[in-house]
Symmetry: C2
Amino acid sequence: MTIAIDAMGGENAPKKNIEGLSIFLNKNKSNNDFMIHLYGDKKLLEEEISKQKIKSDFIRIIHTDAVVSDEETPLTAIKNSKNTSMWNSINAQVDGEADISLSAGNTGVLFVISKMILKMMKDVSKPALAGLWPNQKGMSVVLDLGANIECNEKNLIDFSEMGAALYKSIFPEQKPFVSLLNIGSEEIKGTEVLKKTFSELKRLSNDTNFIFKGYIEANKIMRGECNVIVTDGFTGNIALKTAEGTAKFLTDNLKSSLTENIFSKISLIFSFFALKKFKSKLDPRKYNGAIFLGLNGPVVKSHGGTDSVGFYYSIDLCYRIIKGNLMHQIKNNLSHLDVEN
Amino acid sequence: MTIAIDAMGGENAPKKNIEGLSIFLNKNKSNNDFMIHLYGDKKLLEEEISKQKIKSDFIRIIHTDAVVSDEETPLTAIKNSKNTSMWNSINAQVDGEADISLSAGNTGVLFVISKMILKMMKDVSKPALAGLWPNQKGMSVVLDLGANIECNEKNLIDFSEMGAALYKSIFPEQKPFVSLLNIGSEEIKGTEVLKKTFSELKRLSNDTNFIFKGYIEANKIMRGECNVIVTDGFTGNIALKTAEGTAKFLTDNLKSSLTENIFSKISLIFSFFALKKFKSKLDPRKYNGAIFLGLNGPVVKSHGGTDSVGFYYSIDLCYRIIKGNLMHQIKNNLSHLDVEN
């Protein structure tokens, strides 16, 4: 399996990308089932690789001169981003050179050119952006996080099938629980689109590779009782950013409380390891990597501002997704819809 | 000014309601500009009042036999809830007996009968449920939190005017900043309804009693740079519950981290006061009380599960709203729309 990495995308690229790769290679010394193709400036990448003392038979550099800038807009991206490291790392899938593409670069551009290069899967009406969300028992998949502002029932059913396939590819041992995000748990609650999706998923429930659990309210996302949470891109984006803002507000206040006087500072000596564990469990870098679903090949978007550890987690996510045979799972799940329709 | 309280609504009523009242009376010993009318079972209320050793010239009990049950649905509420403590506490405004009504009872029923009894204000297309949201600088008003699943631009503009009036009535010294909740801050982002609302609010901006600040993303709600955040009831409800769920997830994990071993337990001795302050600042009881806006009289909904302290805060909110002359502020704000349309 081959992972194509846009080594020039994101803040502090290519330094953090190569450092993240170095962590990945160290953690996977005993595995020899992967190849990493790095797209970017050969000279710069070789410098970083030698700085990191990486010696691996499993990496290959494919030189590209150009990089997609942060200022590039989706409108002009198709014209301006040809032969950039991002473009070529996605195009590698068309050429059969790679199984998955990873970039920390410009999100809007990545989305547009991924769609253009890889094209949408037959029978998928809209692609979706899926993210990993921490919860009390581990993590869940939430989609769509912002690719589609408005969605109909066909879109939400596709998202359910694709989200379940993604979860299954990352956690193969479980048959995923899928829920629709709504403002109440009763069957009569919500928009017309949600009600139609609900009854269609209920009707399909004997044939799906997931267990449909009905509606979920937003305050229960993090309980961990549901593995895949399905919503439209507007709502998903609001929920994601509300959670981010709330977490930042709480941890900022906690930090300032615990450093405000000499006693609370002393307390930090005793709680150091406990707080470190707390912080580590909730470390957003562990959940770094949003997945574009619905194209003829998977594309993972790393957060642009993440560091090498965050980038490592997104490489690891790519590895797990391919090992879990995501594309096969998606096709398999969607085939149930074919039978029904 | 008179506050009409449904003393029988919510968990542990009327105990917590009267205890909350007792806190309110103690904190307002030097004020004599209010009357509290308590609606409920006279005998029960007198017992609680004597238990709390309340001796006040500012309270009056109006006996009612019946109570709205938690099982009552909005569909049958109008038939079944006549002459309940909730009904009569709202109806008091029609009779000119009260300026505001407060209940911790059944939300759906409260909403339906409030609309029925008080009726919608002229020119308001839909009523909204507004809540107080903690932020880095104090608190902001967020609406709609779930009264209207789908909203058009007229609704959102009404919500902006009413939300600004509410904020101004609670914090009279400030000209409120108003923003529309969206998935990006650029003018071109979002749904058609949001775009239309944006340009209309921009057009009106010379005449409004608030400063329109454009779009706000959900991760910035708690920064405190905006006082009134406007959205439809579906999105507002998702955001509110996501914030609740995230806060619970984080504080639960923090608690278990800080009690997991002997060292972290020792740390609690040193950080006790700092953590107490942290907890106090974020205490949800301080933000207890959602306000129904758009009716010919204000109705405040206390959380049903809150305790006496939470109920005290909702009584205090009623007091501040009436002192700040909410209804006048709303009419004044809406009159600008009349001029324009």
